[in-house]
Subunit: 698 residues, 2 copies
């Protein structure tokens, strides 16, 4: 690592919005940077040092992601993986049953033999990045609409397959499109499909404070968990990992987050943001709010109902806070005016250069026109193609099986992209997973989603008429759930293996439903892809090129669930005139304990209270620019040692979809020392502590 | 009635927004006009005739309103009142019990002796309008903020009391503020507090199509009901009423709606609309959507749960459609750009006249600044002062009792306005009403609202800490409901009669809760009224005066639940390129019947099918400019005969809060002939038919 002196950075810049000609001010930690394009000058200015190539390479190889949508990292040479508890709840739920609630009890494998496989988990580690912008551009040149989309899909299928080669089980290649079309890259991953659970704390301490505290700070959560990747039935040895530094981070020292931010919208045009504002307020938030209300009432049933609904609520409520934060940002005149100014500045720059203007055209107007079509198609797309009208695990499996049979009979390059050959291993893993299905719960969700579909489309819409006929949503949900065997993995695998003939012959209620809707769903998707998505992609590509002409590669691309590096430091902020201190400690958790959920520490914590160091730092905030998907990211120091584990952002960071405000956007982490102290004192896990602190152990 | 020739009007004008210098185009039916300021020239141009003074006077005296928030009309000389079924559901629910569901069964009094009193209904008939603008202006002159608000409150209390005189039981006076402060008037009403139920159809036919069909057209609803006002225990004779014209309206004939539109926001400034957009999207719609989900799941319980939740859902779902329509309008660039242009034009007009400019100042900036304070206060105002954090009938009664004791000990002019002497009769009627309370249902609503309050304010907010302490929302709701006797009218009346001493001595859980919160709630409200409301009112008054300077009294004021007249005609519209016919018929209802709710006609309809005239017109649409509160308005012809009964608007009319679009905003009515035919053939109610068609009968 080059450079040496640590400088305290001064954060200013309210809503420094990328997208215009404005360079990030000295000291701001804005940006989710691709590892091949770090902002060296800005990092030097802010932190007094810049990582060297070896450091970056190691950071890449010790980072990981859960394919389902979280970040992670290797923390021992024996394939031990650190992530958040909230990233593995799906595994814990799948390993639970009416008599064993692993969300409540937590889990610890004292011996490696006790590590249990997570039914459908997959972990990816980035191995190489290859730029294929020219290949994609050549393949799509001169095409428009559906033809453009088909050409891009075919190029993606071909390039990812070439990249992957023949090692289907262990290699994965994704096409990553950056700058909304400005750059295309192949990300080649080592794929681990045998992922086992090592340790998870009780939900009560992992998500202490529940929804009320979520996205708030101060905070007292042990939102951490360990998995282990296996190969050939043994722990996988890994060449690179991040060792633990239990004393944690000091204020002002340079800190890095290597993670997989999922999705930002900082490069969208004003027309796209206006659509988003309308859509969040009139569709997305109302839908999820309704589902929250449904689940809150469902949770008032028996113990199983409570468990299932509480699990669902965690995700729904988390999503709602994010969406609300986004909608507030999109209603903030300062944000939208900033976007308008940046867009006007870029347009003026383009207009000032005849050759560039001719090449660019008016992509903003094209995107605006596409938003009108998006508005017309959105409800049906969501309900039918995205399946939100049929909310249930059955529908998801049925869709996979019906489409999978049709798609696998086509050449790879002509398939729907999610059925590319490179995707089949994950699909099969999901179909095979023996996760329990709860019919009454599925029926409640399904009946609700059918009711909502009828509200949205009206009773006379052909889709509603076809699905409901003369029946109520409740009746249809009852019949569908009673008539399906897709809860059984064996039945799913039989239909998958049987291909089109098995699908055609099936009398399963959900297979029949999906079969009857599929032609409509496909034609809707085709229209959406050619009239909205392809138009946006082509226009955004030209906007990206105009931006490159304006300011080179000095900007970072929107997040795409690909590996990024953020830099920053420990720092509190000022909330309504009051300073918020950056660290909490164990003593604070006990002060906050009321005994009533979600503020009830679990029994092992109460028992260990006297043994725990009350001054142990527990959670802390930093200036890193992160977003959903960064959950589970390691926070590392200049030596590449783990000092913390990202698990949240503060409430202000939720507007981070659209920009970064260094004065108040904060990432929230679990302190490395808190993890070690809890493992040692509460969970009596000496082997795991030993592995973290002395990772030479094989 | 003057004038004669009926002209077919051509509706153009998309979003003709009042508020600028733009006159309504010839033919458009825009406007909810006060009866003392009808747009004579526009009506003449559109319809070829203008009502004369006698017609207008009769229209005023035969119109009525339900004090709870609906329109109505007198339809016989014996005090028979027509309104919508959905306006009397509260009465039907209060007259129901676990063993008798009058929402499901409907009701018919074959003899007057069988007419049952609606526990807390009040009907008002307008008698006189007096302008008191100068008195109010004199009372508030030179005051700002809290002092302004106090002076206006005191003037209101004094003027309404003077207006009412000593006849507390039979007279009611409301201060009506028009043009958001431009004009103040006293509306003097004949008050009827003995209101009895005469006829209501089954909910299944009144709201046929339920939420899916609500605000849609074509439509097949018998959303009608009859009440009767009594005085001294006998049917009240009335001097003016609207007789029935069973053949109903013809396309193109001039038609009028005399009703009480509740609330429009057409005169708000852009800053206020932007606050509304944010608030609808991030607070109002999410809250109601959650409650919808809760109730949908609650309704999956036993029969009683289903009944209670379905009743609640009707209002919630109706509100959500309205709010969604409003939010779509506020996200419509055409709407907001129109508002911005009109505001800019008025500002320019003011700036061009030095004397006017000096008098006007910059009220737009003052309102914008007040919106920032509103944003800060809104959550607590809603939760604490509006009581949304404590959703239950108990809290409402407790608030009335605790505040009532304190307020009644003050001079009239110093009281909170809802405890003015003129309001006490309605309050006492509500406390006395023997409406059943369902503890489990209240507990579910209360637990949810407490949960939501904690989510909104955070667990560390003082209000949340004080209310929840160490307990969960569910625990608190259980304890509160178990500890209250306020479901019993006798206990409520005892506390009301006992005044402050009884309140101080009470150990009722809800009384104690409200007592402990009241100082905070009052100080919050005071801040809101002085820093937001008074600022807005004062600024809006100057905006209104600037508008009068710009265009005289040619505009109509925003709706204020005071009597208005709209003019228009029967006309369909074009929906996605397809014409929508303006009438439906009985045959269509039977075609739409599926047998499954909400598309199940009740048994008496199925039994009478062969006797009913299938070609009888059933529902129809007209161009009248209406809004919520107009429900129950009579649709009358030039002779003042009832041809229909307004019960809804189409989906486009929901944006009508902010403007009127004559090309597609439509009011939806039940045809007069459908009511008569149903009463005669389905409900076997010859006396009622006789009374409607031959209203000379005493």
């Amino acid at each position: 690592m080059s450079g040496s002196r640590v400088r305290t950075t001064v954060l200013r810049a309210a809503w420094v919005l990328l997208g215009g000609a404005i360079a990030a001010p000295v000291g701001a930690a804005e940006g989710m940077w691709t590892l091949d394009n770090l902002p060296r000058a800005q990092m030097q200015a802010a932190q007094g040092l810049v990582p060297d190539a070896a450091w970056v390479d190691r950071a890449m190889r010790a980072a990981a992601r859960l394919a389902g949508g979280c970040s992670a990292s290797f923390v021992s040479s024996s394939g031990l993986v650190m992530t958040n508890h909230h990233c593995i709840t799906r595994c814990l739920q799948q390993l639970s049953s009416p008599t064993l609630n692993r969300m409540a009890t937590g889990f610890l494998a004292r011996e490696r033999e006790q590590e249990i496989r997570c039914p459908d988990f997959e972990i990816n580690r980035l191995e190489a990045i290859t730029d294929v912008t020219e290949q994609v551009r050549a393949a799509t040149a001169g095409r428009q609409g559906a033809a453009y989309q088909a050409a891009e899909d075919a190029a993606r299928a071909r390039l990812t397959r070439e990249c992957r080669g023949s090692d289907v089980e262990n290699t994965r290649c994704d096409m990553v499109t950056l700058y909304r079309g400005g750059q295309h890259q192949l990300y080649k991953y080592r794929r681990y499909a045998d992922v086992r659970l090592v340790w998870a704390p009780e939900q009560a301490v992992a998500a202490f404070g529940g929804d009320p505290d979520n996205f708030n700070f101060p905070r007292w959560c042990l939102d951490a968990a360990f998995l282990r990747v296996y190969e050939s039935g043994k722990p996988a040895p890994v060449a690179h990992h991040f060792p633990f530094r239990a004393e944690g981070p000091q204020p002002g020292e340079p800190l890095y987050v290597t993670g997989h931010p999922g999705n930002t919208q900082r490069l969208l045009t004003v027309a796209q943001l206006e659509f988003l504002r309308e859509n969040l307020g009139t569709e997305v938030i109302p839908r999820n709010s309704e589902l929250r209300g449904l689940m809150l009432q469902y949770a008032r049933g028996d113990a199983e109902a409570q468990r299932l609904a509480q699990n669902a609520l965690q995700g729904i409520e988390n999503g709602l806070k994010v969406q609300r934060g986004q909608l507030l940002a999109l209603n903030d005149a300062a944000v939208m005016d900033g976007k308008r100014r940046a867009e006007a500045a870029l347009k003026a720059f383009v207009a000032g250069q005849p050759e560039l203007a001719a090449r660019t055209g008016d992509p903003w107007a094209e995107i605006e026109a596409a938003q009108r079509i998006r508005r017309d198609l959105d409800a049906e797309m969501q309900l039918l193609e995205e399946g939100r009208g049929f909310l249930s695990v059955y529908f998801g499996h049925a869709r996979t099986l019906v489409r999978g049979a049709a798609e696998r009979s086509k050449p790879n390059a002509e398939r729907l992209r999610e059925f590319n050959e490179t995707s089949l291993p994950q699909i099969e893993q999901r179909l095979r997973a023996a996760a329990p299905v709860y019919p009454a719960f599925e029926q409640a969700r399904l009946a609700w989603s059918l009711t909502r579909m009828r509200s949205q489309l009206g009773a006379d819409h052909p889709l509603v008429r076809r699905v409901l006929g003369q029946r109520t949503p409740e009746q249809v949900a009852t019949e569908l759930v009673a008539g399906s065997r897709l809860a059984d993995p064996a039945e799913r695998l039989r239909l998958w293996a049987g291909g089109q003939a098995a699908i055609d012959a099936s009398t399963d209620s959900f297979i029949a439903l999906v079969r009857s809707l599929d032609a409509d769903a496909r034609s809707l998707r085709k229209r959406f892809e050619s009239e909205v998505q392809a138009v946006e992609r082509q226009a955004a590509t030209r906007i990206a090129q105009a931006k490159f002409a304006q300011s080179g590669r000095s900007a970072y691309p929107d997040a795409t669930f690909s590996l990024r590096l953020s830099y920053g430091e420990v720092a509190g902020w000022v909330e309504k005139g009051q300073p918020v201190a950056p660290y909490t400690d164990f003593a604070g958790a006990f002060r906050r304990h009321t005994g009533a959920a979600p503020f009830a520490l679990p029994a092992p914590w109460l028992a260990a209270r006297e043994q725990l160091n009350p001054a142990q730092r527990y959670n802390f905030v930093t200036t890193h620019d992160i977003i959903g998907g960064n959950s589970g990211s390691p926070m590392i120091d200049r030596e590449g040692r783990v000092v913390g584990l990202i698990f949240d952002g503060n409430i202000h960071s939720l507007g981070g979809s659209f920009g970064y405000d260094g004065t108040r956007n904060r990432a929230v982490s679990v302190h490395a020392g808190a993890i070690v102290e809890a493992l040692r004192t509460v969970y009596d896990a000496p082997a795991l502590v030993q592995e973290l602190l002395n990772p030479a152990r094989p």
